[in-house]
Every structure is written in structure tokens, then in C-alpha cells.
């Protein structure tokens, strides 16, 4: 056990975690040059396409230091706020963390939030100054920032580069010398904490765990405590780039287990594995996720509901931050109300459902969770995660909406325009600190609903990318909210309803109607698009009927080509959702998100 080191790599987004991980894997000979790509651990197509890490990725390295062999379990984590749950679970399985700071960017908002997470979990922090190869690196200035932030010694900061490999040996040395070996009792009964899992249609569910006490042997009868189900440990092993079967995984080490489980619900991230022969109690799992945004996910074909449920359960295995429960909509039939950590998370879930499970879905207008108090019981908050649950306004005493504390770190040049943005978004400035002469940290209290939508994109564009942003919830505040409905040819489309601040309603209603007019294709009849609060119409657009859709020629040679063309047109219509007689394309349900495009 004293030769095991468990550590994760944490940082603000894009500061070079995954690239530095490549160098560590290369130097320790964990992966061959043939297997090496840029950001090897970002093995999901979506990660590669977007150039960001979405999932934490654990991998085991072997390394001999001063003649002694060590096992180093590394976990690369994502940097984007929406995936912070991945970071927090990784941190819980480690004794140390490499805190990477981009030497050209300095400390950013998630550098701070991830650092605090690590400190709360008593992790040994090894600060690394990355991207030293770049001319724009400002090592001295950023070192000052790091020393200020974590109170370490200046010489403890390791200058490094994921591009050139600078500092890699020194990082490995620091991991071995500074990160404590895991603690745990090898002789105690088995307690292994499941920190991740993935569905595999051939081999069943793979669960990833860290052994906290005791050890787990191949073939042993084990029990998953939360579900109280027993299995044979058919295969256990360690996680290299591929899985490496082993006969035993010992205390402090990280591994996987395959025990023929096919039902997604039987595996829970945060659960404890023990042995049937000598059982131990469950250990404390992970803190529950608190979804920030809610939206409905519906199958396009109503018949695909069960398949969607199955897909969501399987996806949840690999994304513990996804929550969902069944709901139904008059417009869309049966589906699920899902909780996400942010808009990017929502987008990724939708993409993964489509790519990994072939489920094309409709996502409804996202909203945050509101508290509603009725005149009949002024004390009891009713939680509203779906605008459709909005009670009749005459029964409502007050509504509260969630607020967050936002922290923005930026160059002083942009302070003015960022403040304007925050005020426009109903925020109030609570604090402004100059970190250095030209770097400022701004703190705001602001309604969560305002930052969910286009805040992040706008922040990035007004600061030309020189602003980082982090937030955490600070509770609920009373607010003047109304439910805005959308009607197509007089039929209310519940999936398009939204709770909005009264002052924004008219403007928003107009924009949504306008956007819908762009997104809904012309049809064989005129369509009235209206926004309403209660029975009052607040905005209206009309989409006139299709005027011309006729091909000129259709002779002998054209017939089959033309038939195929119109068959395609027919398929296109099938992909649309029928609301009354109006055919609505799935993307229209997210119209509200694209109002400023």
C-alpha cells in the first residue's frame, strides 16, 4: 500500500490537464507511442470533437522511482463548471491533486473552486505552472498569484509544459514524495467505493471502484450494499488504457469489476461493494447532485418512451449527475423531466442519447426550480420544476426563485461592460477585488435563471474570452414571475411554456414568437403564433401558408429520382412533432435559447 499514489489533475477549463496527462502516460510507459494521441484520455467522440473533457478518466501507471516500483492511479478531470460533479467524485478517491495553472492565463474562476474542493477533502496540492513553452507565459506573475492563493512556497510550484514535456519527471517525483499513500486496513472486511460505471452491451455493467479497506478477489461472492444484491466477481482488474484483468485488487488501489449485471438500476455510483462471506457496513458515498436546470426530454415517436427510459438509465450509469423522473405533456406525450448541471450538460446529454443509444429526442424549454407558496399555506414551499405545474395565479401568495453567487475574474478593461451585463440580468454587485493591478474579481448575486441561458456566451464575447466564471447557489428570493404560454393556431403548447420575470415577459414573448416563425417551416395553411399570460395575448406573429412547392419537370427519367426526393420530404415531416395540425421541428422547442442568434 505504501507504494500506491492516488491523485487527480484539476484546473480551470483548457489549462492543459489532459495534455499534461499524455506526457505522464508517455513518460511512465503506460501507453505506447502508437496508442498516443493528443489528449489520449478524452476517448469519447464528443470530447474529441469539442476539444474538452466531459468525463473524469482514471488510468493506472507504473513507475520506478529511486529503485522502488510505484503504482500511480491518475484521474484526469474536466474543467467546465457543468461537469464539476465529475471532479468532486474524483477528488474523493484521491489523496493528492495536481493543480494546473495556465502560465499565460493565471488563476481563473474554476482554479479556485476546484482547489477549494480539493482542500475540503484534505488532498495534498501540488501546484503546476503549465504551458511554460509559450512566449506569452508570465511565470513570475502567475507564481505570485498561486502563492497568494494557496500559501505554498514559491519553489514548490513546478514549471511544466504539456507540449514539450518540461517538468514531467519533477511532477512524478512530487507525486511520490508529497502525496501520502492511501490509508486503509488490508485485513479489515472489504469496503470498495464505486465512483463510476459504464454500460457495456456485451459484458454487462462495468463498475469502477477504489478499495478503501480489505481486498477484492476474482471469483469471490460480493454484495452491492445499496441494492443488497449479490454477484460473482467474474472479472476484476486495473484500468490501463484498456482493462487489465487481475486476480486481486488490494487496499488503496483502484480497479473495475464485471459481474454480469445487465440492469442499470442495480449499480449506483457512491455504493459500497463488500463480500458476502465477511460483510462490512456501507461507507459514506458522495454528496447528492443538485441540478441547476430542468428540462423535459421526450421521444419523437411516442412509442419510444420505454426505450428512452432504458437509454437514460444506461446513460445515468456513466453520468451520475443526470437525474430524471417521468412526466407527461399534452403536446409531447410521455417523457422525463431531467435535471442538469448547466446548459452544456444538457446539450451533452442530448448528444449522448443520440450517439450512444440512437435516441433522437425533443428537449423542452429549460427552467430552474422555483418555490411557490399558496395563499392557503403561506409557509409550505411547493417545488416547481416544470412550468406546467404552475398553480392558478389567484391561488399564489408568492414565488421565489433561486439566486446564485457568481464570481467573475477578468481584466480590469472589461469591468464596465461586465457590470452592465450583470445589471441587465437582474444581478447586484456585492464585491469587487483587485487581485493584481489589472485583474479583478467581481462578485454578484444574480437569479440563476438569468445565467442559465445566454449569460456565459455573452460574458465571453464582451470580454474577448478574458473572463472566467464560477457560481454557487445561495438560496431563494421572492420574485415577480409569470407563466408565459405559447399557442399555435390557438392550441397551447405546454412544452413551450416558461416562467419568466414579469418585466421581461413582453420582450421575451415577442422574441420567442419571432424565433418560432423562423424555425417552423411554412405549411399548407396559415399559422398564428401567439404568446400569452393567462388569457391575455402579449405577442403575436403569423406564418403564412406555403406558396410554392412544385417541381417543374417529371418525365420518364425523373420519376424515381423525384419519388425519392419526395419520400425524403415525407421523412422530414415525420421527424416533426404534430401539435394540433401544425408540424413543429424538434429544434423549435429550444427556440427560447437561441433568441439572440
Amino acid at each position: 500500500m505504501e507504494n500506491i499514489r492516488n491523485f487527480c489533475i484539476i484546473a480551470h477549463i483548457d489549462h492543459g490537464k489532459s495534455t499534461l496527462a499524455d506526457r505522464l502516460l508517455q513518460t511512465t510507459g503506460t501507453i505506447s507511442d502508437r496508442e498516443l494521441q493528443e489528449q489520449t484520455l478524452d476517448d469519447m467522440d464528443l470530447e474529441r470533437e469539442r476539444g474538452i473533457t466531459i468525463k473524469s478518466h482514471a488510468i493506472q501507471m507504473e513507475y520506478t522511482f529511486q529503485g522502488k516500483p510505484y503504482i500511480l492511479n491518475l484521474i484526469d478531470t474536466p474543467g467546465h463548471v457543468d461537469f464539476s460533479y465529475e471532479v468532486s467524485r474524483s477528488i474523493a478517491s484521491c489523496e493528492g491533486a495536481l493543480l494546473i495553472v495556465d502560465a499565460t492565463q493565471g488563476i481563473q474562476a474554476q482554479t479556485i473552486s476546484n482547489l477549494y474542493l480539493a482542500i475540503e477533502n484534505d488532498l495534498e496540492i501540488i501546484p503546476v505552472l503549465n504551458k511554460m513553452d509559450l512566449d506569452s507565459a508570465m511565470p513570475e506573475e502567475v507564481k505570485d498569484q498561486i502563492v497568494d492563493l494557496i500559501g505554498c512556497k514559491r519553489e514548490d510550484i513546478i514549471p511544466a509544459s504539456g507540449k514539450t514535456g518540461l517538468g514531467v519527471e519533477e511532477i512524478l517525483k512530487a507525486v511520490i514524495e508529497r502525496v501520502p499513500a492511501p490509508v486503509g486496513d488490508p485485513n479489515a472486511p472489504l469496503q470498495a467505493l464505486i465512483f463510476d460505471s459504464v454500460f457495456d452491451s456485451y459484458r454487462g455493467i462495468n463498475a469502477y471502484f477504489k478499495v478503501l479497506n480489505g481486498e477484492i478477489k476474482k471469483g469471490e461472492k460480493v454484495k452491492f450494499i445499496a441494492t443488497n444484491k449479490e454477484y460473482h466477481a467474474d472479472e476484476i482488474g486495473t484500468l490501463k488504457l484498456k482493462q487489465v484483468p487481475k486476480s486481486v485488487i488490494k487496499t488503496g488501489d483502484v480497479g473495475y469489476i464485471i459481474s454480469g449485471i445487465k440492469v442499470a438500476k442495480e449499480v449506483k455510483v457512491g455504493d459500497t461493494i463488500t463480500t458476502v462471506a465477511n460483510p462490512a457496513p456501507a461507507i459514506q458515498g458522495f454528496e447528492d447532485v443538485k441540478p441547476m436546470v430542468f428540462a423535459g426530454i421526450y421521444p419523437i415517436e411516442t412509442d419510444d418512451y420505454e426505450e428512452l427510459r432504458d437509454s437514460m438509465e444506461k446513460l445515468q450509469l456513466n453520468d451520475a449527475s443526470l437525474t430524471f423522473e417521468p412526466e407527461s405533456s399534452a403536446a409531447l406525450g410521455f417523457g422525463f423531466r431531467c435535471g442538469f448541471l448547466g446548459m452544456l450538460h444538457m446539450e451533452i446529454i442530448q448528444e449522448r442519447l443520440e450517439r450512444e443509444f440512437g435516441m433522437t429526442v425533443i428537449t423542452t424549454v429549460p427552467n430552474v426550480s422555483y418555490h411557490c407558496f399558496l395563499t392557503s399555506d403561506k409557509e409550505k414551499a411547493i417545488v416547481l420544476n416544470n412550468p406546467s405545474d404552475f398553480p392558478d395565479p389567484s391561488r399564489i401568495e408568492r414565488i421565489e426563485e433561486p439566486y446564485i453567487k457568481a464570481s467573475v475574474i477578468t481584466k480590469s478593461d472589461y469591468v464596465g461592460s461586465i457590470m452592465t451585463l450583470c445589471i441587465e440580468k437582474r444581478g447586484e454587485l456585492t464585491n469587487q477585488v483587485y487581485l493584481t493591478s489589472n485583474r479583478v474579481e467581481l462578485n454578484f448575486n444574480i437569479p440563476l435563471s438569468e445565467i442559465v441561458f445566454d449569460f456565459y456566451d455573452r460574458l465571453k464575447s464582451i470580454s474577448r474570452g478574458y473572463a472566467s466564471f464560477d457560481y454557487h447557489p445561495i438560496g431563494f428570493r421572492e420574485s415577480n414571475l409569470v407563466k408565459m404560454d405559447i399557442l399555435l393556431n390557438g392550441d397551447q403548447v405546454d412544452a413551450l411554456s416558461a416562467l419568466v420575470h414579469k418585466d421581461n415577459a413582453y420582450d421575451l414573448g415577442k422574441k420567442i414568437c419571432n424565433k418560432l416563425r423562423e424555425l417552423i417551416p411554412r405549411q399548407q395553411f396559415n399559422i398564428a403564433i401567439q404568446a400569452a399570460i393567462g388569457s391575455k395575448i402579449i405577442a403575436r406573429e403569423s406564418l403564412s401558408a406555403l406558396r410554392k412547392d412544385v417541381t417543374a419537370k417529371c418525365y420518364g427519367g425523373d420519376i424515381s429520382r423525384k419519388r425519392k426526393l419526395l419520400e425524403k420530404q415525407k421523412e422530414g415531416k415525420k421527424k416533426m412533432k404534430q401539435i394540433g395540425s401544425v408540424e413543429v421541428p424538434p429544434k423549435a422547442f429550444l427556440a427560447v435559447l437561441k433568441l439572440n442568434d
Partner: protein
């Protein structure tokens, strides 16, 4: 076999809207004619009944001289049984037409001319990169009539930004004045691989607005009707007795055989299409390697084609025929879909079934695809 189509894949120059397959070099002409004759021989066994119509299309069939055509006609006659009163059409470009040519056509038994006029304005012809002038077009028509060709059809294009409403009216008046008994009028469609598409992409030209195109279409329908034409297909207009038999056969689902590069055939529920490249087509025929692809038309596809072709014609969908040809499920599908379209006034009931309404014509594609299975 109802119809025989012969594709002549040569043109003098490329029209700016054209994406057909052809060659502007005649060096392969001899070899191609030989290949056409070989294909005629190969395919002759497919026909069981006499041929009712022959159509020389292209490309520009009027580029062929008498000897070329004679060889083809001889081959056709020795391999097929041709009806006595067969309709025999050749597509001609105005610049190719002269007295000698016309008398040769007569001698060969050709009895219908399809003249590619497109517009009676030089600026439009120039825009389309046509090889003839407006004057030549008029002259070609007069010459044809003088030579005794009564059954003449003219192609016109409308719905492009250069064509003002006034010009369009004048083009149609010219048809009336020249006493032409059949007209094919198409809205300009800009296909991907054409000069016009390039000009559109580089913003050198604009599309005409849908509203104006519809206006010209409506004018076309009203005007032709006022001078005694029947709109028997979306883009085809004929005086009594001058409906094209050959094209009608396509729309009535009759069998036809297409000879030549890129030509399509429809025989015994199968559609065939030949390789479209001249050189490869010739080589494949010579070396007896596959020169066509085929697709089996299953019942659903056949139904879709039935709806597609019939609804485009004035005869419309014959309901009895639909019931006899297709299974109950398809009929049920048709009933439920057609109900909605009837309510929207996009199709109307006729004595025998259904046809497009006046409004339905403008969005025929949308109506047809709604009925598809």
C-alpha cells in the same frame, strides 16, 4: 411496350441551366450510334406489344444528320414492331432547323417536333447561353409548319428575374400568334452543377421571389386556358388532339424503354437507368459488361409513383384503379390522408377520383408527399 426513348447525348454548347449529361464533341458520334443500335438489339426481347411512340431526346437530337438517323430508324424497325400511327417526336434546337432537315424528318416518318425555344427575347437566350436567337426560333417554327409539321411543341422557361411580367405575356402571345398546339412551360429550376448555380452562389444573379413565380405561373394557366389549351400536366398544355402521347405514357404508368447513356426504362415493375458517361456507356456496350443499374419497384414505391405521376395530370387519381392496384392498407392510408387535403381544398373530388385543386397545383410536391406512404 408503350414508348421507346432514344437519348442523343450531344450538344453544341452548354446551356446555363442545364445539368443533363451530354458531350460537346462529336468525335464519339459514330461509335455512339453503333452502341445505340447494339442496345436496341439487346433490349428488343423486352417488348411484347407494338411500340406506340418513339421519342428522340437529349442532348440535342437535331445535331444528328440524315445518315445517323437512318441507321437508328433501320435498327428500330428491324428489332421492334412499330404501330402504324405511332407518334414519333424529335427534339430540335431552332438553329439546326432548315428545309432540308425538315424534309428528311418527313421522309423518316417523324411526325412531331419539340422545339427548344425557351424565350422569344435575345437577352434571355443569351443569359441561358442558348445557341440560337429569337428570330431563328420564330423562323424555325414557321419553316416547320411550311414543311407540313402540324404537331409542334415548344418549350418555354419562366420564373427567372430577367423575365418581366410583360415579357412573359409577350412570349405566350407569340405562342398564340404562331398557332402552336402544344406548350411545355417550366419554372426555372437552378440545379446544383450548373452555371446559373455558380452565378447565384457568387451573387451575380438573384432568384425570382416565390410570389412573382406564382404570379407568372397563374398567368400561364389563365392565358393558355383562354386560348383553348388544356393544362393536362403541371407544365404541359395542349390544344384538343395534341396531348403528347409519349409523355402521357410516363404519367399513366405505362412501360417504356430508354436507349442510350443515362436513359431510363420502366419494364415489368423494374426501373433501369443506363450509365450516363458517353465513353463508359459505349465501352460497356462494346465489351458486353453491365451498362445499367436497376431498381425493383415494390408495392409502396409503386403507390408513391402512382400518386406522384397521376396527381400531376389533369386526369388525377382514378380511385378504382388505386383500389385494384394496391392493398387495403395502402387504400386506407390514402383515404385518411386525402381527407385532410380535401378539407384544406388542396385536392378536389372528380367523377373518377381526385385531382389537384387550383391552389393545390402550386404546392403539388407538399400535397403529393403528404399522400406518400
Amino acid at each position: 411496350m408503350a414508348g421507346l426513348y432514344i437519348h442523343i447525348p450531344f450538344c453544341k454548347q452548354k446551356c446555363s441551366y442545364c445539368d443533363f449529361h451530354f458531350s460537346t464533341s462529336l468525335k464519339n458520334k459514330k461509335a455512339l450510334i453503333q452502341a445505340l443500335c447494339s442496345e436496341i438489339r439487346l433490349r428488343s426481347s423486352l417488348t411484347k406489344t407494338p411500340i406506340e411512340t418513339i421519342y428522340f431526346g437529349g442532348g440535342t437530337p437535331s445535331l444528328l444528320n440524315y445518315d445517323d438517323l437512318k441507321i437508328l430508324f433501320d435498327s428500330i424497325h428491324s428489332n421492334f414492331d412499330i404501330c402504324k400511327e405511332a407518334e414519333i417526336t424529335i427534339e430540335c434546337n431552332p438553329d439546326d432547323i432548315n428545309e432540308i432537315k425538315l424534309s428528311e424528318y418527313k421522309k423518316l416518318g417523324i411526325n412531331r417536333l419539340s422545339i427548344g425555344v425557351q424565350s422569344f427575347y435575345d437577352e434571355d437566350l443569351c443569359f441561358f447561353n442558348r445557341a440560337h436567337s429569337a428570330k431563328e426560333a420564330t423562323k424555325a417554327i414557321l419553316l416547320s409548319q411550311d414543311a407540313g409539321f402540324e404537331n409542334i411543341t415548344v418549350d418555354l422557361i419562366y420564373g427567372f428575374s430577367m423575365l418581366t411580367q410583360k415579357k412573359w405575356e409577350n412570349n405566350l402571345k407569340k405562342i398564340e400568334k404562331l398557332k402552336i398546339p402544344h406548350l411545355s412551360a417550366y419554372t426555372l429550376t437552378i440545379e446544383p452543377k450548373t452555371t446559373l448555380n455558380y452565378l447565384l452562389k457568387t451573387k451575380k444573379i438573384n432568384n425570382m421571389s416565390d410570389e412573382l413565380v406564382i404570379q407568372q405561373f397563374q398567368f400561364l394557366i389563365d392565358y393558355t386556358s383562354s386560348i383553348g389549351f388544356e393544362q393536362y400536366e403541371i407544365s404541359n398544355f395542349a390544344k384538343q388532339g395534341f396531348i403528347s402521347k409519349h409523355n402521357s405514357n410516363y404519367w399513366l404508368g405505362k412501360e417504356y424503354l430508354g436507349i442510350g447513356p443515362s436513359a431510363h426504362s420502366y419494364v415489368e415493375n423494374k426501373r433501369f437507368w443506363n450509365l450516363s458517361n458517353n465513353a463508359i456507356y459505349i465501352k460497356s456496350i462494346q465489351q458486353n459488361t453491365p451498362f445499367y443499374e436497376e431498381e425493383w419497384i415494390n408495392e409502396n414505391m409503386a403507390y408513391n409513383e402512382f400518386v406522384l405521376t397521376r396527381l400531376r395530370t389533369s386526369w388525377g387519381i382514378n380511385y378504382n384503379e388505386l383500389i385494384i392496384k394496391f392493398n387495403v392498407e395502402i387504400a386506407r392510408h390514402f383515404n385518411s390522408k386525402s381527407q385532410i387535403l380535401l378539407e384544406r381544398n388542396l385536392i378536389i373530388k372528380t367523377n373518377t377520383g381526385f385531382c389537384l385543386s387550383k391552389q393545390g397545383i402550386f404546392i403539388a410536391d407538399s400535397v403529393i408527399s403528404d399522400l406518400f406512404i
